[in-house]
Symmetry: C2
Subunit: 163 residues, 2 copies
DNA sequence: ACTCTCACTGGTCATACTGACCAGTCTACG
DNA sequence: CGTAGACTGGTCAGTATGACCAGTGAGAGT
């Protein structure tokens, strides 16, 4: 189970190669993976099962591109909440806005950070308005993402974890 | 092709249900999808092909959970760059740090926002140091994500786009 | 009214992947 | 030294896949 020397279960170099392979070509299937990695099919299957059961690989769901859906504008909004309003309550409100793709509570002056998208810069205003419509927001700071210099990735991290 | 009335190609309600289905249970395959959606298999296949070719569904790659990999700490770092240093150059430097999962150039006083992860809060410092080691960073603001109130999602947006 | 195009249906077909097994080998470890 | 765990290389039946096809219905354009 690739416990290096400590008790932690970690990631194998084979695991990393497997994930990398599936990342690059998700459609190839277990058999082809085993061929390319030079191991038996059962091994690949076992590794995948283990990665899935440990939660390292959550699933193989479709990765939707909001831009292709017609929402090319991305922005990050930092919310400062009135003390009285709980994060959970705020999160529930945000969850009802489809354009809110993600929300975190964070340290610092801002209490929450969320990622929102919109069809246009003009509509972005509308989305922000809906976010702010929730009473309890004392202040909000919005920055618009101009370019995705590094698109979301986990591969380097996986390789790093594999050692 | 689901052009509502304007020239734009959009998303169908069937498309949305299909994506939702695959999001919930990615392993079921085309045939099972067709059964659950009550349409012919060829239709599902055609829809999927179209969604893929239009880029709405980028791929079905493995979704890796950094926390399960041993990196439970997430933080957002806002970088203010010296004018002389180009974003591209900075992005290249950041790309070499595995813990940097994502980076955007943004409007506002900060010039870049990036998402980083670390094994512990202590190691987070190390990661930030590596980010700041890149000359050209005038100032950096870090906020640590305490909780993921809304995990990254696109389904509501897909449904919204489907109308 | 006619025809064209397009999407969908419901069916077939051969291919080949899947998940389940199994015995045997090798290594690390107590 | 013996055991547990991981990997190999093989088989097996079941079944999904991708590629087809003819026929139908709706909508657009002539």
């Amino acid at each position: 189970m690739t416990s290096e020397s400590d008790g932690r279960v970690g990631i194998d170099e084979l695991d990393a190669r497997l994930i990398g392979l599936l990342e690059a070509e998700p459609r190839i299937g277990v058999l082809e993976c085993s061929r390319r990695l030079g191991v038996a099919r059962g091994t690949v299957q076992a590794r995948l099962d283990k990665l899935a059961s440990r939660g390292v690989v959550r699933d193989f769901g479709p990765r939707v591109d909001p831009a292709a859906l017609g929402y090319p504008v991305t922005a990050f909004v930092t919310l400062e909440l009135r003390q009285a309003v709980g994060h959970v309550h705020m999160a529930q409100r945000l969850a009802r806005i489809p354009e809110v793709l993600e929300a975190h509570t964070v340290t610092g002056v801002g209490d929450m950070v969320c990622r929102i998208v919109a069809r246009t810069n003009a509509e972005l205003q509308g989305v922000i308005d809906r976010v702010l419509a929730s009473e309890g927001v004392v202040r909000a700071t919005t920055v618009i993402a101009l370019a995705e210099q590094i698109p979301y990735r986990t591969l380097p991290l996986v390789r790093e974890a594999a050692g």
